[in-house]
Subunit: 456 residues, 2 copies
Amino acid sequence: MCQHARMASSTHALPAHIRSQALERLRRLVAIPSVAADGRGISEAAVLVAELLREDGFTVEQLETAGAPVVYGERLVPGAPTVLLYHHYDVQPEDPVAAWHSPPFELSERDGALYGRGAADDKGELVSRLAALQLYRERHGELPLGVKVLVEGEEEIGSPNLAPFVHANAERLAADVALWEFGAVDGAGRPMTYCGMKGILTVELHVRTARQDLHSGYGVVVEDAAYRLAAAIASLRDARGNVTIDGFRDGIVPPSVAELALVDALPDEAEALREAFGLRGFLAGLEGAAWRRALFFEPTLNVNGFHAGYGGAGAKTVLPAEAIAKLDFRLVPDQDPWAVLERLREHLARSDFDDVEVRVLQHAERAARSDVGHPYVKEALAALRDVYGMEPTLHPNSPGSGPIHPFVVGLGLSVVGIGCGYPGSGIHAPDEHLRLVDFERGTVAVTRFLERLSGR
Amino acid sequence: MCQHARMASSTHALPAHIRSQALERLRRLVAIPSVAADGRGISEAAVLVAELLREDGFTVEQLETAGAPVVYGERLVPGAPTVLLYHHYDVQPEDPVAAWHSPPFELSERDGALYGRGAADDKGELVSRLAALQLYRERHGELPLGVKVLVEGEEEIGSPNLAPFVHANAERLAADVALWEFGAVDGAGRPMTYCGMKGILTVELHVRTARQDLHSGYGVVVEDAAYRLAAAIASLRDARGNVTIDGFRDGIVPPSVAELALVDALPDEAEALREAFGLRGFLAGLEGAAWRRALFFEPTLNVNGFHAGYGGAGAKTVLPAEAIAKLDFRLVPDQDPWAVLERLREHLARSDFDDVEVRVLQHAERAARSDVGHPYVKEALAALRDVYGMEPTLHPNSPGSGPIHPFVVGLGLSVVGIGCGYPGSGIHAPDEHLRLVDFERGTVAVTRFLERLSGR
């Protein structure tokens, strides 16, 4: 421990010129509102990412998909192992804008952190990886490993075109290990890595009960779209988060003994999260190992938004004719998002909610977990131990979702995540930010991982 | 029938100069956005109403309340019966503005109707009553009845200050019959009158689960404000509209044999309403007399609005930290709105929804029904029969709510409604309008009522 602590303060610092170049790159990236949900700034962001990769010596191509282009760069080293970096240049919408304390598309430094949409997820992580490669080069010269960088532009809408892209480019994308888009320290500052992601299905539910809003005096005989939708949603899950749709759990593969043991042994993060998020509490009764097993291994259903009728000041006695909700299902291996969609439709029809129309939004990703005992995973843990001077944690998967299935199952890659996040970084939320201390440590840890892979 | 039809085409027309003056007055009134919910244009509308009453020979006072002023005008005839006219100069919010086909605060004539917020409810009815008084005067000279006109400015937010005002001014407001703020023809064009109103309680439900919106990957362990509120609302009523709160029905006085007989004998309006409103259907299984008994005599709970989380394009995988819904309870005699509020709070606490905060909005009115057999009611029916040339219907109460309790119970008045509405007029909704044919007929019918009361 003492030895590692000493290392952290000396060889594990990020040189000022690398840091300042990376933050300037991040400033330029955050200034582009590359919101995949509405398509703003997507092409502009792709062009800038390609430019940065070229500056760093990659052979770069902008590869078209049925949606946003993939920016792909490679620097091959024949005969050597190859690391594939997966990132995305798109971001979540900035809504609700009023809740931000600085403009979302303007990188703003305060209190040791950089604020802006994408500062953490995932533009900050991308510039960190490029800085890590530069640090390696300055320390040791050219990296004796192949590097492939895939930066897509549709991650925040569920990567609808990535699985066919990966399938069609399997040979070009062949690698030995995928360094996934993010990593983090937990609430206590411990670094973590992970080997998988959850899956996801996003849908919109829509109810229309009349041609237009009516005087609510009719509500005693006429249906209320807002009530109908609230009742339909209430029928889909219980207070604990268990989805009550028949067949929803079909296909679930329980976690392995090794995966369960990892999660059971993780430090208890619940209190730290409760404090960081100002939570009223956790879903009924969850605590300890049960809390952690739910977080990592359980699927659920979230209501991302619900809008119907009057939302202004005071009262308006109106019967809304229309109600819309956005939902995401978080899935685990091997739930099939398209089967979940069918079960949802069957549930609504059977529960007398045949007036609730289901529209699929773009997200439909399968979950996947790669082998937690893989040698590359051990190297990632060792790199984190070296740089942070403390024992890292290994998560079988992130509680988030991502397009990992085509890489793990399609390309057969081992996956690890090392990066610059922390639980309070506000990704997907107002005031998203990247702490400078995490940026520095996370970047150096990636360099250390590359050093270990190349025998240093 | 033939005789009446002939009368409608001759003595029952509204002279052009009265009509054009009334519509000019309506144009000026609609141009003022007197939205009680946010207070816009309230004083300006009160001033204009006072000006119109003065022009028509009333002694006018603007009487202060704890909220918006009451405009009060009187023309007394000592020894003669007195008619009290109840109206309001405030309107519902114009939201959703995008759904209007002409600006809400600009009276716009098309297809034989006048569009604008308040064109029907209640500015159109007010100018109709004044036109009816003018028509009487042109036909017969001064009306040999006392007339008192009370125009308040808070009806659309539940008249929070009217009951104490009426109580404090009981002597000044003493009258023999109250001509209520509106009347209508039904879907088949039959005129109707009514003797009461439902009661109401409006509340806002509010849930906060975290300091800010979170990444929805945490939703498997953290509460989702939108789901919590949907589940809470679903627990308050069933699909048929029955409120499932313990004690909600306390105090309900069943309708009298005469009231039930009236409603059972009413023509079936369900199909006409379904067509006018483009309804998907009615609350489970309701039809025929059961449909009518529910409409007139049953209380319910409506969701007027529900807003939480993301509402933009595409998906945003966020866990909303906050959710707000606006609800109205429609009440029947003798439910006490404040007791209903207590039962609601108890229900939420008992159902494990103690995180759902209840805020009372302004509406809290008791229902009341005056005697359906009163002589003034018979005169109103006769007046409608005379002018429309067909048999009118008598409703024990309107399905809507209004501040009728202080007049019926406090002042002991008999109430009747004669006016210019029809079921498709879109009151409280976009494209609110007044059909010119209804305006003309409704105005003349009020004149005929005054003629009958004065023995002509």
